[in-house]
Subunit: 364 residues, 2 copies
């Protein structure tokens, strides 16, 4: 086994989820990531934790088979609910399988399924959890890299000094956390403002997402105004959506478009009322992730980008007195900020063309 | 996908576990059996059942990694317990992986683990359940067959007329069910008697085991006397045990031996006090299984064999007023009855050299 796999497992266990004696652990992974799941079983044994390997979210062929044969009337499975209620730690390992496996599932069926799965998502997010990546062949191909090149890319991004990352990013947290209005401008296609007043900004340094590399908060749901062209493509339900465009009025998406697979975006927005509001604003700060690999876990952390998610807001990013946007979905979309772009916080420019105010070369 | 895989899934769903709308299902399988798990997800969707794919018993690399790194002090994982309590149907799909994967795990650690897992086994056995086989390459190799030849062997044994099997076997049930004393004699190495008085004899026609093909009951734990040489080898915890020998006094194993891996047998017998008593007597009646494939699910059903298991007795095979042998293990071992052998029930010979009293060619 590549020694970087055991290093990865140790990082998950100690840095990301703080694995303890007696912890009940669920590991959700595709079989292509088997080596990492083996290493995680070793890490669990070393620490007295109890692992169970499942393929719930990450058995793509299973989900496709189930959804394509289903009548669309779903219930929340009480045995999975019971499992998650008694669980302390949830580790989801992406990697492997066909990224477009669910591309021929009726999006309406998927939406109905996601709604029924909402209590399971709530349960998982209420525990210590980590989403990480195994460098499988199919993901390398999606990123247009060789498998060995992709392995280096993934493990370089994961097995690193997370304390240094935390310190660097904390400078942006200190700008965004006390702020009210944030404005994102890029070219003549994106100009959007939102209030983040009272909502905490979190520093993602490899805990819940491994790799980490962003700071993020939640916009106040009714405050978003303006338009955004997401110029990086996204994969949702196995389909690529390019040039997603959203226009907001009073926080609600009142217009949307895409140059490819617009109907996927439509389905997302129609999941529920929360899906038509923003649930997240994130600033990608990880310049070690310098290649776009069609994988949101990495792409959203890229330096010189911001991302916004429609749908559910993470509870920790919502202030006590503020409204938390609720939804069965959380779909991230990315704006390239490397050229002709700036981020303004309470009227002051804090990033221009990807360079932050606290970095060399910044031009306010 | 080979159409026999979907036929297999339909047989499991309708014949074996009687899958119903709203059933909570757990499917435990190795990734090599993925196609059958996909087909089972389709079958669940068709019937409104809720599937969850896990690798609990059947993730051999995971279990090895976990057990080799563990200090040996196990607890029963409450999240898996909660999952199983809320489950209606348990489907275990054998097939794939390395059959000798756990051969370098300390048997004492495995025994301690099995003890802690006992409540999970109880829970699974209290539900509708089925143990079946996917014809994976490694299993074909273990059986010394080509993969295609093994596929034919497995699916011929599984996709068949189970009503006809039930009728044929019922003739033996009617002999054994009302009986008291059973005596098994083979060559000069096996001569054992036991009482089955008051214990029901079950007809296994592809429900809990698929393939089925045996009738079986439980001996009264204290009644077993004599000695048995199990002349077919068995694999336990990834290791082959040959020529297992047991001598019983007052139902207890007082002497044991084997020509290979005797210590595996020792560990089994030392699991707990129930492991030193018989928990099952089975008569293999499936002559379509005509090849020994080092796989107990098939081997124990072979025509012209009997098998006995040390350890746990199945609840359904124990009469209301009789003692149920309890144990964390249930380990089957096989005696060849095709030559120089007979089964005697209450003093009458009912099978000689593999031919039953109710069949042509029987010589009492």
């Amino acid at each position: 086994m590549d020694p970087r796999i055991r290093e990865h497992a140790e990082t998950i266990a100690d840095h990301s989820v703080d694995l303890q004696d007696g912890d009940n652990v669920v590991i959700d992974a595709h079989p292509d990531a088997e080596d990492l799941v083996v290493a995680l079983h070793e890490a669990c044994a070393d620490r007295g934790a109890n692992p169970l390997a499942v393929q719930e979210r990450l058995g793509q062929r299973f989900r496709r088979a189930y959804l394509r044969n289903h009548d669309g009337e779903f219930e929340t499975p009480s045995h999975v609910q019971a499992l998650y209620e008694e669980m302390d730690v949830y580790i989801a390992v992406r990697g492997g399988g066909n990224a477009t496996e669910t591309s021929d599932v009726d999006p309406e069926v998927t939406s109905a399924y996601n709604k029924a799965q909402q209590p399971l998502l709530d349960e998982r997010l209420s525990k210590r959890w980590c989403l990480t990546q195994y460098p499988a062949e199919t993901n390398a191909q999606l990123g247009q890299m060789s498998t060995e090149g992709y392995e280096n890319f993934v493990w370089d991004a994961i097995n690193k000094d997370w304390d240094a990352v935390r310190e660097h990013q904390q400078q942006m947290v200190e700008i965004l956390d006390p702020a009210d209005e944030v404005r994102i401008v890029s070219g003549d296609t994106t100009d959007v403002t939102m209030s983040v007043a009272g909502n905490p900004t979190l520093n993602d340094y490899g805990e819940r997402n491994l790799p980490g590399g962003e700071v993020f908060t939640a916009p106040r749901p009714e405050s978003v105004e303006g338009e955004v062209l997401f110029d990086k493509p996204l994969y949702h339900q196995g389909r690529e959506v390019t040039d997603a465009f959203l226009r907001f009025e009073d926080g609600v998406v009142v217009e949307h478009d895409a140059s490819k697979n617009r109907e996927v975006l439509t389905e997302v927005l129609e999941t529920d009322s929360g899906a038509r509001h923003l649930g997240e604003l994130g600033i990608g700060m990880n310049r070690d992730i310098d290649t776009f690999t069609y994988n949101m876990l990495f792409d959203e952390k890229m330096g010189d980008t911001v991302h916004m998610a429609v749908g559910r807001a993470y509870e920790d990013t919502v202030g006590e007195d503020n409204e938390q946007n609720e939804s069965a979905v959380h779909v991230d979309m990315i704006v390239d900020m490397s050229e002709d772009s700036y981020i303004e916080v309470d009227g002051e420019i804090v990033q221009r063309d990807g360079t932050f105010r606290f970095e060399d070369g910044f031009e306010g």
